[in-house]
């Protein structure tokens, strides 16, 4: 797979945007280093320049909690989460580089992908009921922005949400613990699709 070359201006822009939102000074440096590394490694070619993924089945990373990104990158690097092409792309990254990349993506404002479709009322209703009944908001927080190791799922790409929910249900994906596998245990494809649809429609419009 090849990725278009991006201009340095994009990096500068990302870094500048971060200056306005960064909470800590240390995080600021890390985010700038992360922006440069993401540029050099072409992460944006799949995940979107500003972390809003335009690519089917590739997650948006903007506004993810840094812990969630770090932990998944380590799982890729250590060969503990098998999801091509990420294990190969993470193989030679150091801990520090992974933390920098996470600081960068965490600093970007979250938002839906450009190709998000319109909400479908029936699936929105079913998804909302399921999310309520299954307590998704307890761990992912009521607005689904995530916390610590629990990822942001509001406004995530619908196809990726469905892919990961299927992976948890079928036991092909496991995180740093097995909570998600238990949460979606026994749900039907239609139920997972309703959840994915509902969550993809949450967050900033």
């Amino acid at each position: 797979m090849t990725f278009p070359l991006r201009s340095l201006a994009a990096v500068a822009l990302a870094a500048a945007a971060f200056l306005c939102t960064a909470a800590g000074a240390g995080g600021n440096d890390a985010a700038q280093r992360g922006a440069a590394l993401a540029e050099a490694r072409g992460c944006g070619g799949c995940h979107g320049e500003r972390g809003h993924s335009p690519t089917p089945n590739v997650p948006s990373l903007a506004g993810q909690p840094p812990e969630a990104i770090v932990l998944n990158m380590i799982l890729f690097r250590e060969g503990l989460r098998d999801a091509p092409p990420m294990p190969d792309l993470a193989r030679d990254l150091t801990d520090r580089q992974i933390e920098d990349l996470a600081a960068f993506y965490a600093s970007l404002p979250p938002g839906p992908p450009e190709d998000r479709g319109a909400p479908d009322p029936a699936r929105m209703r079913e998804g909302a009921l399921l999310a309520e009944r299954l307590n998704c908001g307890v761990c992912h927080l009521p607005d689904y922005r995530g916390q610590n190791q629990v990822p942001r799922i509001a406004g995530q790409r619908e196809d990726y949400l469905l892919l990961s929910l299927r992976g948890y249900r079928d036991g092909t994906r496991r995180g740093t613990d097995t909570n998600m596998n238990a949460v979606v245990y026994g749900l039907s494809d239609a139920q997972l699709a309703a959840l994915a649809h509902y969550l993809a429609q949450q967050g900033e419009r």
Partner: protein, 404 residues
């Protein structure tokens, strides 16, 4: 297993708290950490703390915050060991370190006063258990047992281990499936088999056990039953009795039940889980008379996660520490206020009665801000009598010695 625990939870829920919750439970089991959570706690934000899997730079390891009693000193002995948990000592002095999520086993050696850290195994499923015997390192992951022969002579190239998985035939369950492992004084490889849930109905001869085997995996024997999940044990240096820590269940309240210390006088005795912790009858399960069970030797505090423990046999510490138990308390998640995050000493009298639990290593719990700086998981005595403490959160090992 899942279905049985579900049916059991269903019965309890129906009896205790109405049908709505029960119907919800019928459709899928709650995540393992939330099983047994009463409906009034369904929206609780308490959840296990995230692990840290990256290197903590040495200047960020909170050694300066650590406190030990007067006359002792504590230093950073090794760092750059993400996820460091259980420790065991090789005959040439190598410290082997197991982990959970990151899937690695490390070897730490002392080279001219500097520590060198090597990753000797990786991509394993929670290789928490490490034990050393006759030149071989035994690594126990979930449902997997590996033996690395002559390991200390080949740390740079450990080679392919001997696969003993089939011989040990451990249950495959992930939850509480990680092991603490150690060799008994008579050479039996001993390990926990935790319950695959928070609280549930389970086969009490298959789970909730401490079991021992011959080193080749044959001759399984139950050392203790009714022990929910023991991630630390050791044998009394004089009486050779087995003593073990045990983790109490979650979601029964901020202050119940306590984690416990168990004295195992005779193999196979029943220590009460899931029915009783001491004289506390768990309301989530059918009532039993708690005097049917062996009583714990001591209570170690609610939700503290009392894990690695060892008897002190060295000559470096004052006489009053000899044959006393050092216990690492990794620290709570299922409690509104944090508790633990320290190393305590259980004081025993000549009859083996616990006369008190005293703080020993403190400073990792910042009570004022209700946050923690590190999570001690195991303790290990070195040959010189100093004591190592592993800190999983910082991937570090501290060394406590007598101040000169």
């Amino acid at each position: 297993m899942i279905r049985r625990s579900l049916a059991f939870g269903l019965a309890v829920a129906l009896a205790a708290s109405g049908v709505a919750w029960a119907q919800q439970q019928q459709q899928q089991p709650p995540p393992a950490w939330a099983q047994g959570r009463p409906p009034e706690m369904a929206n609780s934000r308490l959840a296990p703390h995230p692990p840290r899997l990256t290197v903590t730079p040495p200047e960020q390891v909170p050694v300066a915050a650590l406190r030990v009693p007067a006359g002792f000193r504590v230093e950073l002995w090794a760092h750059g060991i993400p996820g460091a948990r259980m420790m065991t000592l090789g005959q040439n002095g190598t410290v082997f370190v197991g982990t959970r999520v990151i899937g690695r086993v490390y070897a730490v050696t002392d080279e001219g006063g500097q520590r060198r850290v090597r990753t000797i195994a990786e991509r394993l499923n929670q290789p928490n258990g490490v034990a050393f015997r006759d030149g071989s390192l035994y690594v126990i992951a979930i449902n997997r047992v590996l033996r690395y022969d002559g390991i200390e002579g080949r740390l740079d190239d450990p080679g392919t281990p001997v696969e003993l998985t089939a011989a040990f035939n451990l249950p495959p369950d992930e939850h509480h499936g990680w092991k603490f492992a150690a060799f008994s004084p008579d050479g039996r490889l001993t390990m926990n088999i935790g319950v695959p849930c928070n609280i549930c109905e389970f086969d009490r001869d298959r789970y909730g056990l401490i079991v021992s085997f011959r080193p080749d995996g044959s001759d399984r024997r139950i050392e203790a039953k009714g022990i929910r999940n023991s991630v630390g044990f050791d044998w009394h240096p004089v009486t050779r009795e087995l003593w073990a820590t045990n983790n109490g269940r979650d979601w029964a309240g901020n202050d119940v039940p306590p984690d416990t210390l168990h004295r195992i006088r005779r193999p196979g005795e029943d220590h009460g889980f899931p029915f009783c912790v001491g004289d506390w009858n768990d309301p989530a399960v059918p009532r039993r008379n708690c005097s049917e069970f062996v009583q714990p030797a001591a209570s170690l505090g609610p939700h503290v996660a009392a894990l690695g423990m060892r008897f002190y046999t060295g000559a470096m510490f004052p006489e009053q520490y000899r044959n006393q138990i050092f216990i690492a308390r990794r620290g709570s998640w299922n409690r509104e206020q944090l508790i633990g995050y320290d190393v305590v000493v259980a004081r025993l009298d000549a009859q083996g009665n616990v006369t008190g639990i005293e703080p020993f290593l403190t400073g990792l719990l910042d009570q004022a801000n209700d946050r923690f700086l590190g999570r001690p998981v195991d303790v290990l005595q070195l040959r010189d009598g100093s004591l190592l403490v592993s800190d999983e959160q910082n991937g570090a090992i501290y060394r406590i010695s007598r101040a000169q």
